[in-house]
């Protein structure tokens, strides 16, 4: 038996209060408690974080690169969702 029985976990770290958790990498651990501790030891040893999430890699559902076009392109032709789409007369402020 080998470490493959230790599943892979994805690690997310909140670097400081007010920011979201960001994906930083992965690690192996036998269970969630150990994963959290291993993540603390590995990914925050230079004070990089104030909060950690660990998620089993197998639990992540990801969009497929092949579906990239139907997923993401339809949003590209709707510039009216962005404020820069609109003209504002010179001199008008706080808008």
């Amino acid at each position: 038996m080998t470490t493959s029985e230790w599943p892979l976990w994805e690690v997310f770290v909140r670097s400081r209060r007010g920011l979201s958790h960001t994906h930083v990498g992965s690690l192996h651990a036998p269970d969630a408690e150990m994963a959290l501790r291993n993540a603390r030891d590995l990914y925050t040893r230079r004070s990089e974080g104030v909060s950690i999430w660990v998620v089993p890699s197998s639990a992540v559902t990801a969009s497929s690169p092949d579906e990239k076009d139907p997923f993401f392109e339809p949003a590209a032709d709707k510039p009216y969702r962005h404020p820069t789409f609109y003209e504002v007369p010179e001199g008008v402020r706080h808008l």
């Binding site: 651990a29 150990m34 501790r37 291993n38 030891d41």
Partner: protein
């Protein structure tokens, strides 16, 4: 008031020696994640040792130029690493003790402000060490037949070095018997959760010469010091 030298040296030597032992794991841990974890603990302890020894004098003079009999660490911390179960058992016994002691020192157990401040900072590190040791005790105790046997042997083998932890250290205002009771409750709790039993048998040596706090050590300690000190001593007066 300056820190009581006897106490500062005793606590500093504990941290120094255990850090050294944990450093011996580098490159040998059972899994890479554990390399990082053990090194973190070793580095915390080395940091504590340096602060404590500096309160008593020059850290390097104290670490490298004292003879074996002048070291006052408890015998528990000088015990060789053995297998991973031995290292975890040693860490469990020691960090449970260290956490309780430092809590007390941070909260009136010493009238030295510097030592109290150091204890207040260190207690957070030590709580993590204890947590690490507890988690592994559970996994080894309640893991496979092999791991249970190894953990049991380790706990029993080191048991006779646990009584010394609660011998009074000069200069510290601590209810040692009370500390010992709290320690025993804590250890019993962990071992029960790990499906292990608390070892039986004597917790200290009957030898009148005493133990670590009196500068009386076990045989492996002399070798450890020989290795640790030889380079420094080979170049008297040199700076590094």
């Amino acid at each position: 008031m300056s820190a009581p030298r006897t106490a500062v040296l005793a606590l500093g030597d504990d941290a120094l020696v255990l850090s050294h032992r944990l450093g011996e794991w580098a490159g040998n841990a059972p899994v890479l994640e554990e390399e990082v974890a053990l090194a973190n603990i070793a580095l915390d302890l080395l940091g504590q040792a340096r602060a404590l020894l500096t309160m008593a004098g020059d850290e390097d003079e104290l670490a490298y130029l004292r003879e074996e009999r002048a070291f006052t660490n408890v015998q528990l911390v000088e015990q060789p690493n053995g297998d991973f179960a031995h290292t975890i058992a040693r860490q469990l016994y020691f960090s449970a003790y260290q956490e309780l002691l430092y809590e007390r020192l941070a909260d009136g157990g010493t009238d030295d402000a510097e030592l109290a401040a150091l204890a207040a900072k260190a207690v957070k590190e030590v709580a993590y060490h204890r947590d690490h040791a507890e988690h592994w005790t559970l996994r080894l105790g309640d893991g496979t037949e092999t791991s249970r046997k190894r953990m049991k042997d380790a706990l029993e083998g080191l048991w006779r070095h646990t009584g010394e932890l609660f011998r009074p250290v000069e200069g510290l205002d601590v209810d040692w018997a009370g500390l010992d009771e709290q320690w025993a409750r804590r250890i019993t709790g962990v071992l029960e959760r790990a499906a292990l039993t608390v070892p039986e048998g004597p917790r200290s040596s009957p030898w009148a010469a005493g133990a670590g706090r009196q500068g009386v050590h076990t045989e492996p300690f002399g070798r450890m010091l020989a290795e640790m000190q030889h380079l420094h001593r080979s170049h008297p007066g040199a700076s590094w």
